[in-house]
Amino acid sequence: MSFEPRIVGFLCNWCSYSGADLAGTSRIHYRPNVRVIRVMCSARIDPTFVIKALAEGADGVLVCGCHPGDCHYSEGNYKTMRRMPLLKRMLEDFGIEEERVRLEWVSASEGKRFADIVDDMTERLRALGPSRVKLALAYDAVER
C-alpha cells in the first residue's frame, strides 16, 4: 500500500472554492488526498495557517485564490502573491522541501484545473515521501 500524502487546501470562497465545487457538479474525479478549508479570500490566509498545517502533519499545503486581476475583493490575491514566495524561502531554511507548499490561481470556471492540480500535487508528494515535520516535533522527551 503506497504512501498517501495528506494535503490541506486553503481555498478562497469566490473563485477557487467555486472552482472546486464546479469540479464536483461536473463530476471530474481527482485524488481524495486533499482536505479543503474555505476562507473568504486568499488574503485571509495567514502564513501561520500554512506552517500550522505542516506542523500538524500535513505532507503538503495547497493555497488557491482567484487569478490576478480577478479577485472578488479586487486585490486580495496580490497579498497572497507577495506572501507565499517569502514563506517558501523561509520554510526551506527549516528543511521543508519546496514542493510541499504550492500556490495556484483557480477561477470559478476551472473545475478541471483544480482537479488536475490536486492529482499532480498528490503524485509529486507521493514521490517526495512523508513530511518529517510532525515527526521532528513529536519528541516530547528531549533528544540526545
Binding site: G24, R27, H29, H72, G76
Partner: protein
C-alpha cells in the same frame, strides 16, 4: 475550550453521497467526537423532514451547535442557517462539511472517500465548537437604483422600478437611448417594427418623473455596500449641470449589453476587400434606409446570408450568439418582400430555432423560396470574385453537408451574420461594480439556474446581453426580474447584512499602521488621537486581508477567526 452540545447531520443526498461515502460510518465516527450528543445520517437533510429533524433536536437536545455534512455551503448554508434560526439557534452556530461537491462527486467509492468525509466532519465539529453567535447588521435600504446602460434591458428595468414609484438613475454612455435594438429594423419572428417598440419605450423613460436619464455619462466610482452605495457619475456632454455628480443608490443593475463581432477578423469571406460583403448590422442600416442595393447602386440578383460568423468556432467564440439564425430568416423575408425576383440563399451550420414561434418562422421562410445550404461546423464557405462572363459578382464555395457535394453559389450581396461578444470595456465594469467575468468575458451571475440576475456582490444585478447573448424577450424578462428583486428589498425598508466583518481590538493595536494600506475598501481608519486603527464595519467586506496582515493579531475576522481556522486545520489532520 469548553465543550458544546453539538448535533451532526450527515446527508445522503439520495444516493449522490451515499453511493460513494459510507454515511452511516461517518455519522458513527462523528458520534465519538468531543461535544457531539446527536449524530444522524439521513436521506435528504435539506428536505422539510430533514430540516425538522434538526430543529426538533435543537429543542429536545438543547443543541448549542449544528454541523451538517452535505453539499457545498454555497448551495445550502442559508437553508440550514434558517432552520437553526427557526429553532432559536443563532444561524452562525451552524457549520457545513462539503462531502458532496468536494467528496462524493469527485472521488471513487470506498475507504478513502469515507475517510475524507470523516476528516471534513471532524474539522467542522472542531470549528463549530469555537463559533460565536453573531448579530447581522440591520441597515436602511436606499430606494434609489442605478441602471447602467440605456438599451432595451436598461430601459425595461428602469420603467419597472419607476412605475413602482422608485427613483432610477439611468446612465447611458452615448448620446441616445436604445442600444443595439435601436439599430434594428424589424424583429423576428413576428416581423414587427423594432422602431415602434423603441420609440414608445424611449419616450416613456425620458418623460418619466422618477427616471433621471443621464446621457453621455459614465459611472466613475461605486463605493459602499448593498442598500447604501454612493455612485460617482461623470457627464461628458458640454450641456448644463456639473461634470461630476454623486448619487445615493441602494442597488445597481448592469445592462451594458454587447458588441457585434468584428467581421474583418475573418479573412475567407473577403469582408473589407469585396465591396458587397457586409455585416448583418450594415444590412439593417440598408433596411432602415428602405433600399437594398449593391455598392454601385445596382439591385442584387443573388443575396447570400452566411451564419455563425465569429460564433461556434474554434478560432473565435465557442458559444452560439442565439439571435443570428432567426435574424437571418428575417432577412430572407425582407429581401424577398423588397425584391421578389432576387434569389436568396441561406448558408448555415445548424438552424437554431428554439424560441417561441421560431420553428413556424423557419418553416415559413422555407416557403418563401430560400435556398438553404448547410456547411460543416469547423469548416467554412469561401468567397471569391466571379469571373467575367459569370452573371454575378461573387462565387461562394460550400461543402454542402446534406447533399455531400461541393456547391458553387452565385452572390451579388453577401450578409455575414456576425455574432455577439462582450464589450471591450466590460473588464473595467467588473472592477467598478466588483463582479466577475467568465472566460468569454460575459458577467457571471450568482447561480446559473437559481439566481440568474444577482451577482456575487450583494446589491449588484445583471440583465440583458452583458450576461450572455440574448434576444429581446429574454433581456426584458431578466431586466424586469432584476427590478422585481430590488423592489422586494426596498419594500422591506431595512436589510440585514452579513455579520461577518473584521474588528480591531484596540487594546492590542499598536498603531503600527501596517493594515491601513491593506484594505481595498478603505474600511480601516487610523485615529491620530488614540494612535489606534479601527474598522468601519459597514464598509468591510470581510475578505480578512487585514486580519492575516496584522502582526499583533489585533484584528479579528468574525466567523473566520484564527482560532476557528486552527481548529479546522487540527480537525482535518487529526
Amino acid at each position: 475550550m469548553t465543550e458544546k452540545r453539538i448535533g451532526v447531520y450527515v446527508c445522503n443526498c439520495g444516493t449522490n453521497i451515499a453511493n460513494v461515502v459510507d454515511c452511516d460510518a461517518v455519522a458513527e465516527a462523528a458520534a465519538d467526537l468531543p461535544g457531539v450528543v446527536v449524530s444522524r445520517s439521513y436521506k435528504y437533510m435539506c428536505s422539510n423532514p430533514g430540516q425538522e429533524m434538526i430543529t426538533q433536536d435543537i429543542r429536545d437536545e438543547q443543541l448549542e451547535r449544528v454541523v451538517v455534512a452535505a453539499c457545498s455551503p454555497r448551495m445550502h448554508e442559508p437553508t440550514f442557517r434558517r432552520a437553526a434560526e427557526t429553532a432559536g439557534l443563532n444561524p452562525y452556530l451552524v457549520q457545513m462539511a462539503n462531502i458532496r461537491e468536494q467528496c462524493s462527486w469527485v472521488h471513487d467509492a470506498g475507504e478513502m472517500a469515507t475517510e475524507k468525509a470523516k476528516d471534513l466532519v471532524r474539522a467542522a465539529v472542531y470549528r463549530v465548537t469555537r463559533h460565536e453567535s453573531l448579530e447581522r447588521l440591520s441597515v436602511d435600504m436606499c430606494p434609489h437604483t442605478l441602471v447602467l446602460g440605456g438599451g432595451i434591458a436598461g430601459m425595461s428595468a428602469a420603467l419597472e422600478l419607476a412605475d413602482a414609484g422608485k427613483r432610477v438613475y439611468l446612465v447611458e454612455r452615448t448620446k441616445a437611448l436604445g442600444g443595439n435594438v435601436a439599430r434594428v429594423d424589424l424583429t423576428a419572428p413576428y416581423l414587427d417594427s423594432a422602431r415602434d417598440m423603441m420609440t414608445d419605450r424611449v419616450t416613456r423613460v425620458i418623460e418619466h418623473p422618477d427616471v433621471s436619464v443621464m446621457l453621455e455619462s459614465e459611472l466613475e466610482k461605486l463605493e459602499g455596500f448593498v442598500g447604501n452605495f454612493k455612485a460617482t457619475i461623470s457627464h461628458h456632454s458640454s450641456g448644463e449641470g456639473p461634470p461630476i455628480e454623486v448619487v445615493d443608490v441602494g442597488s445597481v443593475i448592469v445592462c451594458t449589453g454587447y458588441k457585434e463581432f468584428d467581421a474583418s477578423r475573418v479573412t475567407h469571406f473577403g469582408y473589407g476587400k469585396l465591396p458587397d460583403v457586409i455585416t448583418s448590422f450594415e444590412f439593417e442600416g440598408m433596411l432602415k434606409q428602405g433600399r437594398i442595393e449593391m455598392k454601385d447602386g445596382r439591385l442584387p440578383q443573388y443575396v447570400a446570408i452566411v451564419h455563425c460568423v465569429g460564433s461556434r468556432s474554434e478560432e473565435f467564440h465557442g458559444y452560439c450568439s442565439r439571435v443570428c439564425c432567426m435574424t437571418a430568416l428575417k432577412y430572407a423575408h425582407e429581401v424577398k418582400s423588397a425584391l421578389p425576383r432576387t434569389y436568396v440563399s441561406d448558408v448555415y451550420v445548424d438552424m437554431h430555432a428554439f424560441g417561441k414561434g421560431c420553428e413556424d418562422f423557419y418553416r415559413r421562410s422555407a416557403e418563401v423560396k430560400t435556398l438553404f445550404l448547410m456547411y460543416g461546423k469547423g469548416d467554412h464557405p469561401v468567397v471569391r470574385r466571379a469571373d467575367p462572363g459569370d452573371d454575378c459578382e461573387m462565387l461562394i464555395t460550400v461543402d454542402e453537408q446534406l447533399s455531400g457535394e461541393q456547391i458553387e453559389l452565385p452572390a451579388d450581396l453577401i450578409i455575414l451574420m456576425v455574432g455577439m461578444e462582450a464589450r471591450e470595456d466590460s473588464e473595467q465594469v467588473t472592477h467598478l461594480v466588483n463582479i466577475s467575468q467568465d472566460k468569454d468575458g460575459w458577467f457571471i451571475e450568482s447561480h446559473p439556474k437559481l439566481d440568474p440576475v444577482a451577482t456575487t456582490t450583494d446589491g449588484v444585478y445583471i440583465a440583458g446581453a452583458c450576461q450572455a447573448p440574448k434576444d429581446i424577450p429574454d433581456s426584458v424578462a431578466q431586466a424586469r426580474a432584476a427590478a422585481a428583486r430590488i423592489l422586494g428589498k426596498i419594500s422591506r425598508g431595512k436589510l440585514e447584512i452579513d455579520a461577518m466583518f473584521a474588528a480591531v481590538n484596540e487594546d492590542l493595536c499598536s498603531g503600527c499602521r501596517v493594515c491601513n494600506e491593506i484594505c481595498p475598501y478603505s474600511a480601516i481608519e487610523f485615529d491620530a488621537e488614540t494612535k489606534r486603527s479601527h474598522v468601519i464595519s459597514a464598509l468591510c467586506k470581510a475578505c480578512g486581508a487585514c486580519v492575516a496582515t496584522c502582526p499583533s493579531a489585533a484584528i479579528e475576522a468574525k466567523h473566520f477567526t484564527d482560532e476557528q481556522i486552527f481548529a479546522e486545520i487540527a480537525g482535518v489532520l487529526a
